[in-house]
């Protein structure tokens, strides 16, 4: 199963982080990312550029209204994400807890929808083992 770890910073946390050693932050994050890679679970991950460079498209109006950042009303900012592939919710929790984040920061963790989330009736299930072996041979890379 896939989970998305969404990093949410408060304005205060971002302000406070400006006093911290940038090298240290980068190194801690690097070690965390490396541990995800070494375990073979990291599928994707990106950090986001400052909110000043972002914009919001608001669909309340027609046509939609585009507002440039920073957004005064936002209490928490979505600042980066990871997508990991794990075997259980608990494993996602365990990885999330290891993320080197400080006070004022939250990690929102959401499961990513996958194939098995879509309805599957019993006919999905097949009993023809031999055919599969044959199909593999006949179709090769084309199955």
């Amino acid at each position: 199963m896939k989970y998305m770890l969404i990093m949410r910073d408060s304005e205060e946390a971002i302000e406070a982080s400006k006093d911290l050693d940038f090298e240290e932050i980068i190194a801690a994050m690097g070690r965390y990312n490396e541990s995800l890679i070494k375990a073979g679970v990291l599928l994707a991950g990106e950090g986001l550029a400052p909110v000043e460079e972002g914009f919001v498209v608001d669909f309340d109006a027609t046509p939609p209204v585009v507002t440039d950042g920073p957004y005064a009303e936002a209490k928490e900012l979505f600042n980066g994400f990871w997508i990991i592939g794990v075997s259980s919710k608990e494993e996602a929790i365990e990885w999330a807890k290891r993320c080197p984040l400080g006070p004022g920061t939250k990690l929102e963790v959401r499961r990513v929808n996958e194939l098995e989330d879509f309805p599957q009736d019993n006919e999905w299930i097949q009993k023809e083992a031999q055919w599969r072996a044959d199909a593999e041979g006949r179709l090769g890379s084309s199955s």
Binding site: I93, W131, A135, R138
Partner: protein
């Protein structure tokens, strides 16, 4: 309510919910840390079987303590320390108070006192885990034992999970693991990366074990499901892990790429009613683009190493051609033909030949492909194999030789073990029959 014995021996009641929470947390910690724990313990006691037994004892201890005392901050370190203490206790019982063991015990206590956030020395641990991978895939073990042991001691899967993945009884898996550990001990298998002269062969064995596990999910040998993505996902995770441990091995990177490309198509390989969907009819909009990109990145890493492409590299390159083509017609078939030719030279196989013929048919037409298939048929290497007359029938039909095509499709229908496939072949043959009459 379950009773839990605390460190002092008193019985402390633990809530069932606490027990369940602890059990789940333990399983998660184990999945993440098992390879490092077993690797560390193997270095400590010198035997992978004993290391695994000690780890299992530590797990039982965790199930007693964690529900009461809470899940420790560093579960992996906790389990390792408990297992090491058990090992020392065992030596003490057998050897009396040997000074060497007493020293190890003191070291362990020192280690625990000073252990901060970084419990593991990353470089040592990487080396140890790599050694563990080679031990699990050691040639003294049967392929089945290699698979079971890899999933168990490197992947951290339980016997139940492995049994479920391979659709065999739990007792069978347990037996395989016990026997594998005994075999390793009897053969005195060293905990080390193979010698340079054996390296390539042993690496090949490791990669093929991972590929077999992947295929078990991709094309289950038995059972009632067309694909079992969880089995393949675990193989892919382990392959990524191994590729991370061996960043200079192009075939390890290539195997990751090959698995990513195949896994990207999981969602589209079977219809709702269970009918497998051939590649040219799959809904390409549902292929996992992110996964394809990961595959391309892995293949690019393999190429950057600069030692050329071997078997997995070529197979991955073929899979990449399919993965990036917007439609079946837009596929670079000429390139696939060349890749199959290269693959046929380094890993000759009649099935590769047949696949090459299919690619030739798509690239330059059915006539030249038919010559290849005829050669294959004359060689007798695919006798009794339904795929051969099925492809031959297809090619003949495209050449308008319907009468012959019908005969081939009918013999393919007789040879296949699958009802759906048989029906499809017969329907196609019947369609040709009407056209002739």
């Amino acid at each position: 309510m379950s009773d839990v014995t605390d460190a002092a021996g008193a019985v402390v009641p633990a809530d069932d919910a606490d027990v369940d929470r602890a059990r789940r947390a333990l399983a998660a910690v184990w999945r993440i840390e098992s390879a490092r724990i077993i690797a560390t313990l193997t270095r400590f006691v010198g035997d992978v079987g004993q290391a695994e037994d000690l780890a299992q004892e530590a797990m039982l201890e965790a199930l007693r303590q964690w529900p009461v005392e809470g899940v420790p901050r560093n579960g992996g370190a906790w389990l390792t320390a408990v297992a090491k203490r058990r090992a020392i206790d065992g030596w003490r019982r057998r050897e009396r108070l040997d000074e060497r063991y007493a020293a190890m015990a003191r070291d362990l206590e020192e280690e625990e006192r000073t252990a901060s956030g970084t419990f593991w020395d990353p470089d040592t641990i990487d080396d140890d885990v790599l050694r563990l991978v080679f031990v699990a895939c050691h040639p003294v073990l049967s392929r089945e034992a290699q698979i079971a042991l890899t999933l168990r001691i490197v992947g951290g899967l339980s016997s139940e999970e492995i049994a479920r993945a391979f659709l065999v009884p739990v007792a069978t898996i347990q037996q395989r693991i016990v026997r594998a550990k005994k075999t390793l001990a009897a053969a005195n298998v060293p905990f080390e990366v193979p010698e340079p002269q054996d390296y390539a062969e042993r690496l090949g064995s490791v990669l093929s074990v991972l590929y077999l596990i992947f295929n078990e999910g991709y094309l289950p040998a038995a059972g009632d499901q067309w694909v079992r993505p969880d089995v393949s996902a675990e193989a892919l995770r382990l392959a990524r892990m191994v590729a991370g441990l061996m960043p200079r091995e192009p075939e390890a990177q290539s195997l990751v790429a090959l698995m990513e490309f195949h896994a990207a198509r999981f969602a589209t390989r079977v219809a709702r009613d269970g009918t497998p969907i051939p590649l040219d009819e799959q809904d390409r909009s549902r292929w996992d683009r992110a996964q394809i990109e990961r595959g391309r990145a892995a293949l690019a890493r393999a190429d950057r190493i600069g030692r050329g492409r071997a078997s997995y590299g070529l197979q991955a390159a073929i899979a990449e051609c399919h993965a990036v083509a917007p439609t079946a017609e837009d596929t670079d078939w000429a390139r696939i033909v060349v890749l199959y030719e290269a693959l046929g030279r380094i890993a000759p196989s009649p099935v590769v030949e047949l696949n090459r013929a299919v690619a030739v048919a798509m690239s330059t037409g059915p006539a030249s492909a038919l010559r290849l298939v005829d050669d294959l048929e004359r060689s007798g290497r695919l006798a009794g194999y339904a795929g051969l007359p099925a492809v031959r029938g297809e090619l003949l039909a495209r050449l308008g030789r319907n009468e012959e095509a019908r005969g081939e499709l009918e013999s393919a229908a007789r040879l296949t073990g699958n009802e759906r496939e048989r029906a499809a072949l017969l329907a196609k043959a019947a369609g040709l029959g009407r056209a002739v009459e």
